[in-house]
Amino acid sequence: MCFSVALWDRIDPMILGLPFNLAWLLCWIVLTTLCMWAAYRVESAREKKDGGAP
């Protein structure tokens, strides 16, 4: 994600009054949580199958 910096490091278009780069990052903070939650579900399911080996 961070390699795309040049693409999103700008002010316009403003999202909810925030400069685009800030909005982009804030968006991704929330998305990261969602992705990790999904990963957590996957790992838990896998652990139940293996009987506890991570």
């Binding site: 403003m14 909810l16 400069p19 780069n21 800030l22 903070i29 929330v30 949580t33 990790m36 939650w37």
Partner: protein
């Protein structure tokens, strides 16, 4: 108001340890029973320091766009932690590890490597600790309308935090974090929304005004000559890997009840980063409202003092004070324990019992408090470069930890050499003012060199490392 908050915090700190017998295990890792909520608060307590509070707004004010790296690296460090912390915890529980050096000692079977890790760790921790105290002095001074001078404020807070660390160890830190995090969220949101509203009738209008009068401030490199995109990318990678390599964060993972607790924690913690956005809003507002401040770190407090009634300033000040005291205590605790357990005992006094180590660590807590207080009172500009050195330094542990967890063939000479190479590179570049180096973060370059050295040397020396590798769980 501030006094009340700090007093409450200290009381909590003492109570935290009241019914537990404080042996080394309890003092350093709280008996390994911290569940999700307490874990969340402890980590949040450590990771969000005065840097997040004053420094983030200060950077938004003075540097603009590059400050966004903070949002990125903190979020990403949780992704890193999701994968590596449960494994670290598992090893910690199995072999009753308490400190970061313990891990290195176990995995690589060499006490000199562990001692080296300890030295780099403690050296990096001291400027970090000193910075919390300096920040604290500023916060209390400004928030009390110069009623309490910087030095008395620092002395009092240091005495208080030393007291509750001595009494309850890491439990004190975790419980006070509860208060600290709650206050921080309340304070951040209120000033983050309130200040732009007061001066511009809203956050959107504030940014529009800023975009119109100083468009380059909001993107990279913002107000700086050299913090551009390459710097951003390399620094984000460096610091997201580095967060959990700090001895106190590494050690805090040992307090968890289970690896699962740590994973759940990692999932939720990015959301706490959102509070930083509110801190940014204040910093950005200050650019147009209070131009020309000599010290960017004062931007947030000065603006709050100007815009809000005294009690709110006191609330913010209290949150800020705790934001300094909590990390300061854990930094102190970690450094003292590291020093006592992994440097003094193995190298100088191998016959020390755990209880004696605990006692020595307590003495060291006081010593470290005194040293950092002294440094904070006589600080100089080079402390910032020392902190950067510290960050770049601890990240050099990363290859040793990660390769140690997941790769059978990594060997002790490999890791040791890699670490020395990394630390030396970092020291060279930063002390000769070459950070960033052609736009690349110095620590990042050092990390690459470190990884390469470790890998290559490990492949070469793997037969020597066979006996150490057989200890891998």
């Amino acid at each position: 108001m501030i006094v009340a908050i700090v007093g409450l915090g200290t009381a909590i700190g003492f109570l935290a340890g009241v019914r537990k017998q404080m042996n080394l295990e309890q003092w350093t890792v709280g008996g390994r029973g911290f569940g999700s909520v307490l874990m969340f608060l402890l980590m949040a307590g450590e990771i969000y320091t005065t840097f997040s509070f004053l420094g983030a707004s200060g950077w938004a004010y003075s540097r603009g766009g590059p400050t966004l790296y903070i949002l990125a690296y903190i979020t990403l460090c949780y992704v890193v932690s999701f994968f590596i912390l449960p494994a670290i915890w598992e090893v910690g529980r199995k072999y009753t590890l308490q400190t970061q050096s313990d891990f290195f000692n176990l995995r690589y079977g060499n006490k000199y490597l562990a001692a080296f890790v300890c030295v780099v760790g403690v050296t990096s921790l001291i400027p970090y600790l000193q910075l919390q105290i300096t920040g604290l002095g500023i916060i209390v001074n400004v928030a009390s309308f110069d009623g309490i001078g910087r030095t008395p404020a620092m002395v009092i807070s240091v005495v208080l935090l030393t007291a509750f660390v001595l009494a309850s160890g890491v439990r004190a830190v975790a419980w006070i974090s509860v208060l600290k995090d709650a206050l921080m969220i309340v304070a951040a949101v209120s000033i983050g929304i309130g200040i732009p509203y007061i001066h511009y009738r809203g956050i959107g209008p504030m940014f529009s005004a800023l975009a119109q009068s100083r468009p380059s401030h909001l993107t990279m490199p913002g107000a700086t000559p050299n913090l551009g995109h390459t710097w951003y990318i390399t620094t984000v990678i460096l610091t997201s890997l580095g967060v959990y390599m700090w001895p106190q964060n590494f050690g805090a993972s040992f307090t968890a009840k289970s690896g699962d607790t740590l994973r759940r924690n990692a999932v939720v913690m990015p959301l706490y980063t959102l509070t930083l956005a509110f801190i940014f809003f204040v910093g950005f507002t200050a650019v147009l409202v209070l131009p020309g401040l000599p010290d960017g770190d004062l931007a947030l407090l000065t603006l709050v003092r100007q815009s809000f009634p005294a009690w709110l300033l006191g609330l913010v000040g209290g949150a800020g004070a705790l934001t300094a005291m909590v990390p300061a205590s854990i930094l102190n605790l970690s450094a003292a324990t590291l020093f006592a357990k992994n440097l003094c005992r193995p190298i100088f006094a191998p016959a020390m019992t755990d209880d004696q180590v605990a006692k020595l660590a307590r003495v060291l807590v006081v010593v470290l408090s005194a040293i950092s207080l002294y440094l904070a009172s006589h600080s100089s500009a080079t402390l910032v470069s020392l902190l950067l050195l510290g960050y770049a330094g601890v990240t050099q542990f990363f290859p040793g930890v990660v390769l140690g967890l997941y790769w059978n063939r990594v060997t002790m000479p490999g890791v040791f050499a890699g670490m020395i190479a990394g630390v030396a590179t970092v020291a060279c570049l930063i002390l000769t003012h070459r950070d960033p180096f052609f736009g690349w973060s110095a620590g990042f370059l050092a990390l690459c060199i470190n990884f390469l050295t470790t890998t290559i040397l490990s492949l070469i020396t793997r037969s020597i490392g066979a006996s150490a590798a057989s200890k891998k769980p």
